[in-house]
Symmetry: C4
Subunit: 239 residues, 4 copies
């Protein structure tokens, strides 16, 4: 797929990252607002929110992987850049910056779109504090698992399963980690702009984002330990 | 698949659109009535209704795509007609009319069948008003996403995933959009004939249907922006 | 697969039908008892029961199709016999009798096993009356849809999708039909032997079973209408 | 896949069994704690817990099958050893011991990690007694079904479906068996170390583990009865 990916102009790839991350955040935030309005049981709310979020992520990866690689997540972009940094034709620093910028812009736009769809005044901050060491441990575990999964599928030659596998992973991780498994710095920033079920107060951003990068490193380390050596050249883009 | 599709006589294709759209509306309306009778929690009701509706849609697309293309939706029929209008052998105006007529007739029959299965007197109108700009925004987003998905899968050569992908999309869109993601003018008309969980008052039809067509245009525009140019000839039928 | 199927001795095929139908009924009845004990909300009970039942059916079809065809249902056995009655090597009358006998014996054993697993005294009758014309209409629709699905997948050359598609269908049909979608005379008989969530009073058996056979005929008729002519020889066994 | 598996050094395979079993128990225990905190309805709790556990198991089998075979369960390891004991290159006694040791160590670590993620003091015993003949019957049925499924997929040449099929099986078995379908002696030991929704009191361990080994024997017997003879050499590792 690198051939395909490199053949596409950078602006279109950045547009895919922007639209994709925006759609992802709109799905997460929108389904959280809907679920809160409909159910009295927080477990039912999270069931609906986790299933919708997982499906949205899986479909977006399937649709946009051939365009931009469908990173939709700065941790994935940085991981792809690091893994491929000595491979000709891999992401360079300028592309990494543009991808991450597009992801952040998309995440903010997605949160505002979700607010507008529910007739809420967009632009307020979340008041939902998420702090405490055990939540940061949960977020580290969530992101480590995500990176281990993406890199593991790549190492065993099953990267084409990524849409299904990553979607399923997120659905489970939202339940088994204590943090709700944000596992995505761009989406985390976007979610600070909604005062609803899936929001996160701005003061909690630094801890969560740091935990996500730490988890990404741990996941990459685990992948190296279990699968050995470097991944096969040219196959680091989840598709 | 065009060869297969064109080889079939038009009446049989129209019958597939009628039976398919009827079954789809019967599944949506029937599962909504069942869920309302069983659960006290509206979130649980929508979980059951969204899962049943998504499964029904996916199976119907799989079963009827080789017969009629399994549009089951005027927006999809018009989108297929517009995309293929300069391609020999694509849908012509008469076929479009017959498809849409069959979809509308099927949708009405499906709603009446669902009412009869639950021992309710068929033929009443829904009293469930669905209005407000934010709902129309939700419905526009829902339909834009559907068309982007269908056209996107086609552009990347994965149209065979449509049954699974469209089903999954609808399950998520019912949750993340504020409108309940009707995303189908024929089904919307059919759902005006049931005064139950999934109904829509006749007065709300014009707004919803306008939003659906607007969303269809936006989705096609997004697909052109992200995938570029026109789709490959001969591949516009979801299969 | 016919080659494979005919190569196996009849007793082993009958054993597969017995074990398979028994496991299916144990899954249906057992998950219904569990769900009733755990949840106060009948909608949640049916969500769990429908998902477990669908998964069980799909896995059993996948596992036993290469052995016996995995009919697990007299309607499917009779439909396969009728469809293939002029095809050399298809099921003959004696095999049909043995299959149906094994399915009935398995269904009874499965219900008793489920009762025993929950520490209930096996052998009582269900007291859950399921009657009324609208329920019989629901049961007819449920079985018609099942037969249309099985035969349709066969006609379009996708019979290998049967485990997934039939499982998904049952999960949806339990919700959209008013009758709970028994759609299987053997399982219906077995379920008369449990006085629990998924039971059916013996007095309601004749109506349900008649509706199932009527639905089977309607489904076969719809398949002939939509797909035309007879199915391809040698492909009538869902696999 | 044997080629692949045997090519890998034993320590790395043991690491995969340890990490995999640890992650599995962390998913089971963590999602149980989360669900208990969020929902008032025990049915909703088990829905979330069963779906998360099933997804976790499926992804771990997919990721680690090429490394270690992804047994993650002493019953599966012993079954693979017994089935392949006369096949050159199959697991030997030392490997069996190391696998089971790694599984036990991983299971304990996974339970402690889950407790830590939720800010609970790790290291206490479960107080949840699970006893009674009907529960042991349930656990026997659960493990028999698991082994029949794994061996059956192998006999019919569909072992590559194991990640999806085993995950789906566990989701259903948690609901249809009375015991909660532990079906894994290592995970059972790990779950004695959490006083939460998915725990099991140490006093209940012997009964459950005995039932699991009995179920494993029954499942292997059923597979031999239904599929006949011995499985094809070289294909006993689920992948």
């Amino acid at each position: 797929m690198r051939g395909t990916r490199k053949a596409l102009p950078l602006p279109r790839r950045a547009a895919a990252e922007l639209v994709g991350t925006g759609a992802l955040v709109a799905v997460i935030v929108g389904s959280g607002i809907q679920a809160t309005g409909l159910s009295q049981d927080v477990g039912v709310r999270l069931l609906a929110n986790s299933l919708a979020s997982a499906i949205g992520l899986g479909l977006l990866i399937a649709l946009f992987a051939p365009v931009s690689g469908a990173h939709l997540n700065p941790v994935v972009t940085l991981s792809a850049w690091w893994t491929g940094r000595r491979t000709p034709g891999a992401l360079n620093g300028r592309e990494v910056s543009l991808y991450i910028g597009a992801q952040l812009a998309g995440a903010v736009a997605g949160a505002l779109l979700a607010e507008a769809m529910y007739g809420r005044a967009p632009g307020g901050w979340s008041t939902l504090t998420r702090s405490g060491g055990h939540l940061l441990l949960g977020e580290t575990v969530a992101t480590a698992g995500l990176v281990l999964l993406v890199q593991g599928l790549d190492r065993i030659g099953r990267a084409r399963l990524a849409p299904l596998a990553v979607a399923a992973y997120i659905a489970a991780a939202i339940w088994f980690t204590s943090s709700g498994s944000f596992a995505n710095p761009a989406a985390t920033v976007g979610r600070s702009l909604t005062d609803s079920f899936t929001g996160i107060a701005p003061a909690s951003l630094p801890g969560f984002i740091a935990a996500q990068f730490l988890g990404g490193l741990l996941g990459a380390g685990l992948a190296a330990l279990l699968y050995g050596g470097r991944p096969p050249a040219g196959s680091h883009v989840p598709q």
